[in-house]
């Protein structure tokens, strides 16, 4: 499989690079189609998290993206195989120097407002997103774009200062979307998103009552004829996993995505409920701030990596519902990853870890705070396990739980210390690594790594359009990251869904977002 998937990506990128138009294949958008599908019905989805707001240009919060992707669309769809499939774009042509992308837009697309979408809307939306004054977290990903032109109603041209092979994947649904031209002229435009949706997606906003429910209704004018099948989707904000389990058993809800896989255990024997596991694009990591205490010394970082038994942490924190990883999320391992056997500091080696600490003048060990985030349950058991493992090499861990807001503040200020992290990606290596590990100012370099070699590789990886060369660059980068572990990538947790048997053809997208609802249907 790895080879075939890679060939698939290689084929697509080669097509882009060869300047031939890549055509949209609608049947591949949003997952597989079920020929037996029937239209109609309403479902309730139980969710432990709720979007703070529905503005698709703000907040990278998973809670928002999970649902906004059903209402708003970008030019491409993030196929979890790592392929950006044309969505609002119908085709794309790339200039030989890879600095000009010309998109032909799909025709017959209407906004929820009823007006037809044109190139002016696309230009306006992406110009808004890339203007950093507007606060979109996705602005940095479009830093290579110098201007956007709309020569005619169905053509949009992105002009780049340097090649950016990740551009199509950047124009997917995580940050920003296509909204009507001039939308933000109204003073309350940002908050209006919470009352009326203005996207092009298969679902429209019906009601959003924070701390209670979010209701989406079928967009009858949706451009993919016949989709979606389900008339109405209610996202009920649930208080805890126990309530989700009870609600699934009692038919109050039809679908739930579990944040802790082991919570779904008790549903395995529940009649009428099916529990499924899906690969994810998420990873649980231990991050090491290179400016923090003893972590300044690369030998200490290596010693910690050698003392961490990833398999044990995986079992303790999420009951083994996941896969140990090296330096790549499991959903992209086949396409972009390096086999763990070829990476340094992956196997537990206590003797070597102790030797490294001794070499660093820390033979007696030291005390260090390990930060976990309140509300991230897996971190609690994980932290205790890590503490026990590090005790073997003399490192005494003090577990410190902090509020998410405080954690984000520390993270953005590059004062993260020694911390657990939990992050996901859209399926492109540049989007996964660049902002995290590229030295400032181009990247955020949250861990204060400031590694010139890594930055050079990440720049090249972003610009390289030849898939084979690109793969080689990211292989080299990952080996470097493993040798100098500023982020110990432990495992990707599987996505676990519990669903009532009347819900058919629901495929959980690897990002954790609810794209699968678009082609799901209800049996009577």
């Amino acid at each position: 499989m790895p080879g075939s998937r890679l060939r698939l990506i290689a084929g697509l990128l080669a097509t882009l690079a060869a300047a031939a138009p890549a055509l949209a294949d609608d049947s591949l958008i949003y997952g597989k189609t079920d020929p037996a599908a029937k239209a109609g019905g309403k479902i309730t989805v139980g969710s432990l998290i709720e979007p703070p707001s529905l503005d698709p240009f703000l907040q990278g919060a998973d809670a928002r993206i999970r649902v906004s992707g059903l209402m708003y669309q970008g030019l491409f769809f993030e196929d979890q195989a790592g392929i950006p499939r044309p969505l609002l774009a119908a085709s794309v042509t790339v200039a030989p120097d890879a600095k000009t992308y010309t998109f032909k837009l799909r025709e017959g697309v209407k906004f929820h407002t009823g007006q037809a979408m044109s190139s002016a809307d696309v230009k306006y939306s992406y110009d808004w997103m890339r203007d950093s004054k507007n606060g979109s977290p996705g602005a940095g990903d479009l830093s290579s774009v110098t201007s956007i032109d709309a020569p005619d109603a169905t053509t949009v041209v992105f002009n780049l200062s340097r090649p950016n092979a990740a551009l199509p994947m950047t124009l997917t649904n995580k940050y920003g979307a296509v909204v009507p031209n001039g939308y933000f002229a109204a003073a309350d435009a940002g908050t209006k998103f919470n009352e009326v949706s203005v996207g092009t997606g298969p679902y429209k906003l019906k009601v959003f009552r924070p701390n209670s429910v979010l209701v989406l209704e079928r967009n009858k004018d949706y451009w993919q004829k016949g989709l979606p099948y389900i008339d109405e989707v209610t996202f009920a904000t649930m208080p805890n996993s126990a309530a989700v389990v009870v609600a699934l058993q009692n038919r109050r809800i039809d679908l739930a995505l579990f944040s802790r896989p082991q919570d779904a255990e008790q549903l395995k024997t529940a009649p009428g409920v099916e529990v499924k596991r899906w690969p994810s694009l998420n990873q649980k990591t231990i991050d090491l701030d290179v400016k923090y205490a003893q972590l300044k010394d690369v030998r200490v970082r290596q010693a910690i990596a050698l003392a961490v038994d990833k398999e044990a942490v995986l079992k303790a924190s999420i009951a083994g519902y996941g896969t140990v990883i090296g330096t790549m999320v499991i959903g992209m391992q086949d396409s972009w990853g390096v086999p763990i056997a070829q990476l340094a500091n992956q196997k537990v080696d206590i003797a070597k870890a102790k030797a490294l600490l001794a070499e660093a003048g820390l033979a007696d060990g030291f005390d260090i705070d390990l930060t976990t985030i309140i509300g991230y349950d897996w971190m609690d058991a994980g932290a205790v396990t890590i503490a026990e493992q590090l005790k073997q090499i003399g490192i005494r861990v003090n577990i410190k739980k902090i509020d998410l807001g405080v954690w984000i503040r520390n993270f953005r200020a590059r004062e993260m210390g020694f911390t657990f992290n939990d992050w996901g990606t859209t399926p492109d290596p540049s989007l996964l690594f660049y902002r995290h590990f590229r030295a400032a100012p181009q990247g955020a370099d949250f861990r204060n790594w400031n590694n010139a070699k890594a930055s050079e590789l990440l720049d090249r990886g972003q610009e390289e359009t030849d898939p084979v060369k690109r793969k080689a660059i990211y292989t080299e980068f990952q080996k470097l990251l493993a040798e100098d572990p500023v982020s110990i990538m432990m495992f990707s947790a599987d996505l676990i869904t519990g669903q009532r048997d009347r819900l058919k053809n629901y495929d959980q997208h690897a990002t954790g977002w609810y794209f699968g609802l678009i082609k799901a249907w209800l049996a009577n």
């Binding site: 703070p52 703000l58 507007n134 908050t191 429910v213 126990a242 309530a243 609600a247 984000i408």
Partner: protein, 314 residues
């Protein structure tokens, strides 16, 4: 009476102002703000941070931010939620209606259960009935409200294969659905408060029944029922009214936990989500409202004293 009212109003205004200032400063003392939450683990672009800080007015001095908020509050404008864009006054009122429904229903049920139990235990002091009621009191007072709520939820599911709906429905829209939604949270809170009531009423009743006037009344040949309900019970009304006030405030506190447990969009959850999201206008507005409720409740209790005890009217 006028002087009494004026004094109470002045002290209430000072309490509201000081608590607002405390909330304002505490919220800003907590590291992290809405800008960080919005940008999360995104890029290193400080322009976006500065722009968003300017948009929310977070780049201005603290005294100016508080002054603006205070000036707007005096005109009845609590601002808008930074996330949702809706007026804070609307959000707070909508949430209050949910919390008020829970609180009133709890108060009624807890009173109907707790007071009779307390009276009965007081009258039957030292008997098995008294011991059984005291055991109930002990259980109710010692079991955490979230545990009771969770047990009710799991119990209802296991025994009845039933769980409450999760989308709140106001009683004015669909009363049956509303009762379905609030029954478990109200029962969770009621059990605790009924035990508190019962415990308090029993102790007060026992003390009252040992007073000389009770012995005299019984010696005069008055029927026990008359002694208990006409004399003793009337005399425990004053402390009971004080206690009702305390219970009401306690219910509001318990509502924070119970609303989170049962996904009810009340004041507790509004404040909690506001704090987590660093939505300062929502937290400040909602907590000011809670302080005002506490003031009004205490004020109403003072007035009730006057009605119950003729000696206080002068």
């Amino acid at each position: 009476m006028f002087r009494f009212l004026a004094t109470r109003l002045a002290s209430a205004a000072v309490a509201a102002l000081l608590s607002s200032l405390a909330v304002f400063l505490l919220m800003r003392a907590v590291p992290g703000d809405i800008v960080g939450q919005m940008l999360g683990q995104s890029g290193n672009d400080r322009t976006a941070e500065a722009a968003l800080r300017g948009f929310f007015g977070l780049d201005r001095p603290l005294w100016a931010q508080f002054g603006d908020w205070l000036a707007n509050t005096f005109t009845g404008n609590l601002g808008r939620s930074w996330y949702q864009g809706r007026p804070v006054a609307t959000l707070v009122w909508d949430a209050f209606l949910v919390t008020a429904e829970i609180a009133v229903a709890t108060l009624v049920i807890a009173t109907l259960i707790g007071v009779p139990l307390g009276v009965l235990a007081g009258i039957r002091e030292g008997t098995r009935t008294d011991a059984a009621i005291q055991a109930f009191n002990l259980l109710g007072l010692s079991a955490p409200v979230f545990w009771i709520g969770l047990m009710l939820m799991v119990g209802a599911s296991a025994l009845l294969e039933w769980s409450p709906p999760f989308a709140y429905m106001p009683p004015t829209v669909d009363l049956a659905e509303n009762i379905n939604i609030i029954i478990l949270p109200v029962l969770s809170l009621s059990l605790l408060q009924a035990a508190a009531y019962s415990h308090f009423v029993r102790d007060t009743m026992v003390t009252e029944l040992r007073r000389e006037y009770v012995r005299a009344a019984i010696a005069k040949g008055l029927a026990p029922r008359q002694v208990y309900f006409k004399h003793a019970l009337r005399n425990i009304l004053i402390p009971l009214v004080t206690f009702i006030g305390l219970i009401l405030i306690q219910i509001l506190g318990g509502a924070v936990v119970i609303e989170s447990l049962f996904s009810l969009p009340g004041l507790g959850r509004l404040i909690l989500s506001g704090i987590q999201g660093r939505d300062y206008p929502v937290v400040q507005g909602a907590l000011l409202f809670v302080v005002l409720i506490a003031i009004v409740v205490n004020f109403a209790i003072d007035l009730l004293y006057g009605l119950i005890d003729p000696r206080l009217r002068s």
